[in-house]
């Protein structure tokens, strides 16, 4: 864990241009991921976690753009690279898998060809070699009878199989970083567990770092060594994933942890209402002054409404952005 981190984001600000003005959809985003590390980005819909991932791979499109900040990949700034240079990184060094394995595969192309294309595109292999490698790639994600399956079209595969194919495509070129954006949301729970397990094992074997994006705190904590919790475009807390559960510091994280349903809680405590965080996430154009969580926070005081908290380092490691943190 020494030396240059694999990817380092420093004070990233992502602008949303709504025609008349620019507002920050995310700001002050800083984190680093070391080689082979697993890092989770958690938050509710619209908190800016997915656009942060898009910014990393240089795929923000109008009306979104990088306002300021630095993204370094292996110590090299990549946010201003040319389109062609960025393309060399994408898929080859940084790969991504998506929420919807149903739609992320081309319906008119056999899956083997879609895997093989990665080798042709990034590794300059011939189609003959690439097709052979595609069979191996499919075998590595534990698809049975891969030499027959390569000829299948996506609609002939189940959701779990498709996500395996997506993983095979993403890991085909041996990337250094795999971004997984809600990789299992569309799958049922037993398949979810298999896919997560597969992804974790493959990445551990190959030393691929994972940036996992999810709204599911439990899932992320299970996969990742470190977790950053985002709220309304800012990272409010970043901790080792065990610490997040044991002693959440930020009131928002506390609320999230408290609102997780626990198996057996009804037997132990009787019929209780699941905890919730009062209020709704503010719209991007109407973020409150000060701490963005203050309208929903039980501990909010005067300072929370006027001054945005800075990131405080915690003694136990990690950081939190709150005036009143424990």
């Amino acid at each position: 864990m020494t030396g240059v981190p694999l990817i380092e984001v420093e004070d990233l600000r992502i602008d949303l241009d709504d025609g008349s003005r620019r507002v920050a959809a995310a700001e002050g985003i800083s984190f680093r991921i070391d080689r082979g590390e697993t890092f989770g980005l958690v938050g509710e819909s619209g908190c800016g976690k997915s656009i942060t991932a898009l910014a990393l791979i240089g795929l923000l499109r109008q009306p979104l753009s990088i306002g300021s900040g630095v993204i370094r990949f292996e110590g090299r700034e990549i946010q201003h690279l040319s389109a062609a240079k960025q393309r060399e990184l994408r898929g080859n060094r940084i790969a991504m898998i998506f929420q919807e394995p149903m739609t992320a595969l081309n319906p008119v192309s056999p899956v083997g060809r879609q895997i093989a294309e990665m080798f042709v595109l990034h590794k300059g292999k011939s189609w003959r070699e690439a097709n052979q490698l595609a069979v191996e790639a499919l075998a590595s994600v534990r698809v049975p009878a891969p030499e027959r399956r390569v000829k299948d079209y996506p609609h002939q595969l189940s959701g779990g199989m498709r996500q395996r194919v997506m993983i095979a495509i993403a890991l085909a070129c041996g990337p250094d970083l795999l971004i997984a954006d809600e990789p299992t949301t569309a799958l049922d729970v037993t398949v979810q567990a298999e896919i997560i397990e597969l992804m974790r094992n493959l990445c551990a074997e190959r030393g691929t770092a994972i940036l996992m994006i999810s709204h599911d705190l439990g899932l992320v904590a299970n996969v990742c060594r470190r977790v950053a919790v985002m709220y309304a475009g800012r990272i409010v807390e970043e901790r080792g994933s065990a610490d997040v559960f044991r002693s959440p510091s930020h009131p928002y994280t506390q609320g999230l942890v408290a609102s997780l349903p626990r198996l057996g809680s009804r037997a132990a405590l009787g019929r209780t209402r699941l905890k919730e965080i009062a209020g709704v996430v503010p719209a991007i154009t109407a973020f409150p002054d000060g701490c963005r969580f203050n309208p929903r926070c039980a501990q909010a005081t005067g300072i929370c409404r006027t001054v945005a908290p800075v990131a405080d380092l915690l003694e136990a490691g990690g950081l939190v952005r709150c005036h009143h943190h424990a």
Partner: protein, 273 residues
């Protein structure tokens, strides 16, 4: 199984038309141009003259057989030119958007506003009559529908997960257009293409009728129909047989297009099996 029937019948009709065109010298009974004999003028169909003869005593059967060459060449080649132009413009416009989309849209509207036959006529007037100018004129004037379809498909496909996934995986624009967008819009393009071939056959007839197509003594189905117009009451076989040839060819093309669409859509393929 019904889905396969149109493919087989359509393919057979189209293949038959192509075969007739290719094998014309062996299938024809007489030379379509030179073997005129006024002694045999306007014979009705019989064992000697299968499709009858025209007012100059030329064998209609032989002329229909040779006419397949012109009609099919014009139909296929000009529609191929149209498809390539239409797909290239529409696909890139839909995918890239922006000023290029505006330019292509303007051009398409311009083409739709001018009747394509009039435009083709103008091009023919500049290039002069003949097969090559016919191909160019019809090939440059009928791409607007293909372009519209390609643009609309590209617009909707652009936001599909797999197109975005391809971007994320490092595909370049051209590769995305060719490997991701094009195969997914091929169905409607092919259907439009086959219909276009039919209409190109008809446009060729119209231009030939106006003396701008293939030079008169050499037969094309279109020019034969035009020539036969005056004698439709006295010698109906002059119009019936070239008309039938056009009808069967266009029918075959449409059935073929339908069948191909069924094959190219993997979802309908698995439904059938």
């Amino acid at each position: 199984m019904k889905l396969r029937a149109n493919l087989i019948i359509g393919g057979a009709l189209f293949a038959l038309a192509i075969l007739v065109g290719l094998l014309a010298p062996w299938l024809a009974h007489t030379d379509p141009v030179l073997d005129a004999n006024l002694m045999n003028a306007e014979e009705p169909p019989s064992w000697t003259w299968w499709f009858g003869t025209d007012d100059q005593g030329r064998d209609i059967y032989s002329r229909v057989v040779y006419g397949a060459r012109v009609s099919l060449t014009v139909g296929i080649v000009s529609q191929l030119i149209n498809s390539v132009i239409g797909v290239a413009l529409g696909l890139s416009a839909g995918y890239w958007g922006g000023w290029w989309d505006d330019v292509v849209n303007g051009l398409t509207n311009l083409m739709l506003a001018i009747p394509s036959l009039i435009f083709a006529l103008a091009i023919m007037a500049v290039l002069g009559p003949g097969l090559t100018s016919l191909l160019i004129a019809l090939g440059l004037t009928n791409w607007s529908f293909t372009c519209r379809i390609a643009r609309a498909s590209a617009l909707s496909l652009r936001s599909q997960g797999y197109v975005q996934a391809a971007t994320v995986l490092g595909y370049g624009d051209l590769r995305i257009m060719i490997t991701q967008l094009l195969p997914n819009m091929l169905g409607p393009i092919i259907v439009i293409g086959t219909l276009g071939m039919g209409s190109a056959v008809l446009s060729e007839a119209a231009l030939s009728f106006l003396g701008l197509g293939v030079r008169p003594p050499f037969p094309s189905w279109g020019s034969m129909l035009s020539d036969a117009r005056d004698q439709i009451t006295t010698a109906p076989w002059l119009s019936v047989f070239p008309g039938l040839a056009i009808f069967l060819t266009v029918l075959g093309l449409n059935l073929l297009g339908d069948g191909l669409r069924d094959i190219l859509d993997p979802q309908s393929r698995s439904r059938r099996s």
